[in-house]
Amino acid sequence: MTDDHRWSVGIGTALALVGSGLLLTQTVLVVGAVIPLVYLLHGVLSTVPSDVDLSAEREFESAGVTPGSELTVTLTVENTGTDVLPDLRLVDGVPEELTVVAGSPRIGVALSAGDCASTTYTVGLERGRYEFDDPVVRLRSLAGTDERTVTVPADGERTVACADAVSQPSLADAALGQAGTVAAQTGGAGLEFYATRKYHPGDPMNRIDWHHVAKTGEFVTIQYRRERAVRTVVVVDCRPCTRVSYEIGTPTGAAMAAYAGERLFQSLESAGVFTNLTAVGLDGEMAHLTDADGLPWLHPGADRERSPSTLFRAIHEIADRHPGRNEGEGPTRQSQEKAHESGQTAYRAAQTDHWTATPRADGGDTRERPEWTEKLLARLPAETQVILCSPVADDWPVAFARELTDRECVVISPDVTAGSSYGQRIRAINRRRRLQRLNHHGAKTADWPIDQSIEGTLERALPELFTDR
């Protein structure tokens, strides 16, 4: 391709100088027209070599990492031909979904024959499997008048897998111990000693404590801790206020909650626990996955159109959609920055929209149940273990946990408040307060710093879930 624009400038300048020179009778201006014509000649004679030979190689520093972590990529391009390339500009084929957080995947360089140039950059990873395209190279002649764009096949690594929950359910070895059974605070059928009581006629013979009979002559019956078979419901919180991240390029709170939910769901399913899956905050266009009340309620054996994997795909899709961003818009840095700001607004709005408190004259609490709580309580069976995956970006999880008076509640909370700005620090304080309140209401909480693995977090925060009983 040739840049004809420079022809116009040269001709225009030359004509202007000749015209001015003739009008003003200035010889110097007329001969000055030679200067743009020399530039013009230089442009005409300068071309990109016809046989360009380039090779490229890409290396990853680490692969197969978790969402939120970073991957360092080094791309090297070499002029394997015999001609000098005075103007080579290259852009690596970074997948659209990934954000470059440091360095640049672009090179602009002049390469002699046999020379090579490299660039190192870092991308922020999100859940999924991504394939890098071949780098695109644009070559220009020395004068910039001739231009050619080619794609150079890149050797080396090109695919990065970022902890795909479906294919890598690594929580399997740390599955919930006796998943689906909850130790109740009553005696009954079970394996663990709970208490003794006075013998009642009809008690099984093998439950009588014969040692006690031999010592005292009194018949007592041993009770074991009763174990109830309960249903587990995984609730993923992807309301708009949770779709915020602490830094450009990092996944949103909703995305990380969905990731945790998917890992847990797969593990529970593989452990044979009957688990339901639901989510709060799905947008209107997900109506095909939800029931009349706006909640999806899925189980492992559901049909394909409303299967958990379909729901997780949908949750991941909207979890990455920052509040205020239209569907189909690319995740540009500007839109992320805008969303980052609007996320704060959505967060504040959520606090007022979902939880309205009216002080009562007697000092009591007349808080109304938020919409999502009402809907979930209407759906939850009596004996249910609820696992709520939420970044706890507002008060709703606390309010929800408080309503689960007769149910076991576990809150897995990815921390997306790790930023250093004043606003983020205040948000972090608020989040910690909410986690404390959750504990106060009897919920077990797992605070998950997203730069660490979820398995380690669960083992530290909820050891009882990983102990075989």
Binding site: V9, G12, P86, I107
Partner: protein, 532 residues
């Protein structure tokens, strides 16, 4: 890929362009006898770029206040750089001993002024190219701020002067200057007499009225009246759009007007009459000189323009965010402050201005100016006049903003690297002007070569910044820059050698002017188009 890279030109190319421009401008300015006013002009150019840069980044109150403050150096740069330099040059080269020397002295003044103005444009272009801030949004914000700054003094001054004029009437001496001109313009526009055709002025009036009507139809709120979703609205919209395209119609109308102007200038009425036959000539003349028709067209233009202005203000005002309105308070308050300051120092400032200007003029015009200014001051007083002048002075940046905005909206200044094109144009103007004032050959040729090199390196830097950003290596820039400079050097050497060899004896005068004019018009169109 979602990535954000620094899209500005590489530092190396920017530095080379800056050094080349400053060095060449420094050398060119050595040929000019006035430096102080030129430096004020350059300061104004830099202030304008800084203002555009600030308004693009600082949208809060403090930013707008700074931009509003910077309208003073911008206006000073423009007024002092052009009018001040002109006055000083007139003072240096006039009066002349012989009448025959007037044209030569005028040419020298124009040459010097061309060097100063060209250099100022080049500085503005280079600073603009480095920051790449000539965007519609920034220009709109800047123009709004400048208008808000000028609004209070301009409004106050206009009200004061108008009220005094209505109460006291015009002073006798001023009639000579203003009323006669107004009367002439009124006669030419509304009731031209004589045997001439007056076709060109009629076409201009028709064009103005038609343009305003077209804009009115485009802006008319049909959607609000018939419902924006209705089919009828779509039909009306289609019909309104079908009135265009304005560019083609405008070009055709403009060519017709230019043709009419040339015909009326070059041909006598009798010649035109003989060409088009007498009945047709009389019929057209009857139409083009009809007072009522011209008055109707003029009235349509004036009323339409007022209507358009009001509709734009009323439409944009509710849409303006509260934050924008509050940021406009700063320039308005600052404008108020300048008004008060102008009123306080008006008496001494008026006499200083008049004395300074008169001291630079030849004795005849100076005496006439002192007499007229004395009459004006006697009727209006120095305070209203100085306040009005302050408003006009502060309105200059707004005018520059409107001009630049027109260039951007029209697509001329919208492309990347526009600043470097402007700088190239400025340096070429300065070099051509330097040839008039007998600057050394190497300097004129070098100025042209540097102008082209700045254009080339600047655009190269812009594309590199856009395509690879911070990934650009220094060697890439060095290779390109050194090549461009070497080619320019070769061009200068070749041109200088050619000049010595070919035209040592100068030109043959006879066919020169015609050829020069044709070449100049063609080249200016091509050059202006190519620099986009």
């Amino acid at each position: 890929m979602s990535t954000s890279h620094r899209t500005g030109p590489p530092k190396t190319s920017t530095a080379v362009v800056g050094v080349l421009a400053l060095f060449t401008i420094g050398l060119l300015l050595r040929e000019v006898p006035v430096h102080a006013t030129a430096l004020v002009g350059f300061l104004g150019a830099v202030s304008l770029t800084v203002s555009l840069w600030l308004v693009d980044r600082e949208t809060e109150l403090a930013g707008r206040l700074t931009v509003s403050l910077l309208t003073i150096p911008v206006a000073a740069g423009f007024v002092v750089g052009i009018f001040g330099t002109t006055l000083l040059l007139i003072g240096s080269f006039f009066p002349v001993e012989n009448v025959s020397d007037v044209s030569i002295a005028t040419l020298i003044v124009l040459g010097n002024l061309g060097v100063v103005v060209g250099s100022g444009i080049a500085i503005f272009g280079v600073t603009l190219g480095v920051n790449n801030v000539i965007a519609s949004r920034a220009l709109t914000a800047y123009t709004r701020t400048a208008v808000a700054t000028a609004l209070v003094p301009l409004g106050t001054g206009s009200v004061l002067v108008t009220s005094i004029a209505l109460r006291e009437g015009s002073p006798d001496g001023v009639n000579l200057l203003f009323e006669r001109q107004i009367e002439k313009a009124w006669t030419a526009l509304v009731s031209p007499g004589g045997t001439q055709l007056h076709f060109a002025s009629f076409l201009l009036t028709v064009g103005a009225a038609a343009g305003v009507c077209w804009l009115l139809v485009r802006r008319f709120p049909f959607g609000s009246l018939v419902g924006a979703e209705s089919n009828r609205w779509r039909y009306i919209r289609q019909q309104a759009t079908a009135l265009g395209p304005p560019r083609r119609v405008g070009v055709a109308f403009g060519l017709l007007t230019v043709g009419a102007v040339l015909a009326e200038l070059l041909l006598a009425p009798a010649e035109i009459q003989s060409l088009v036959t007498a009945p047709l000539y009389n019929l057209v003349q009857l139409l083009t000189t009809a007072d009522w028709l011209r008055l109707l067209l003029l009235g349509t233009t004036v009323v339409g323009t007022i209507w358009l202005g009001l509709s734009v203000i009323l439409e944009e005002l509710p849409g303006t965010r509260q934050a924008d309105r509050s940021t406009m308070l700063a320039p308005l308050l600052l404008g108020g402050f300048w008004t008060l300051l102008a009123a306080v120092v008006s008496e001494s400032l008026f006499s200083w201005l008049v004395t300074e200007i008169a001291s630079q003029l030849p004795s005849g015009p100076a005496a006439e100016m002192l007499s007229v200014s004395g009459s004006i001051e006697a009727v209006y007083g120095s305070t209203p006049l100085i306040v009005l002048l302050a408003g006009i002075f502060l309105g200059v940046p707004a005018g520059i903003g409107v001009l630049l905005l027109g260039g951007v909206r029209g697509g001329y200044l919208a492309a990347g690297g526009t600043g470097f094109s402007v700088a190239c144009g400025g340096l070429c103007l300065a070099s051509v002007s330097a040839s008039i004032i007998s600057a050394p050959t190497w300097l004129v040729l070098g100025g042209v070569a540097v102008g082209l090199a700045i254009w080339d390196i600047g655009h190269f830097g812009t594309t590199v910044g856009h395509e690879v950003g911070e990934g650009a290596r220094g060697q890439l820039v060095v290779v390109r820059v050194s090549t461009t400079l070497l080619v320019g050097l070769a061009g200068v050497a070749l041109a200088a050698g050619l000049g010595r060899w070919l035209w040592a004896d100068g030109f043959d005068a006879s066919p020169r002017i015609t050829l020069a004019l044709v070449l100049l018009v063609t080249s200016l169109v091509a050059f202006a188009n190519a620099l986009r």
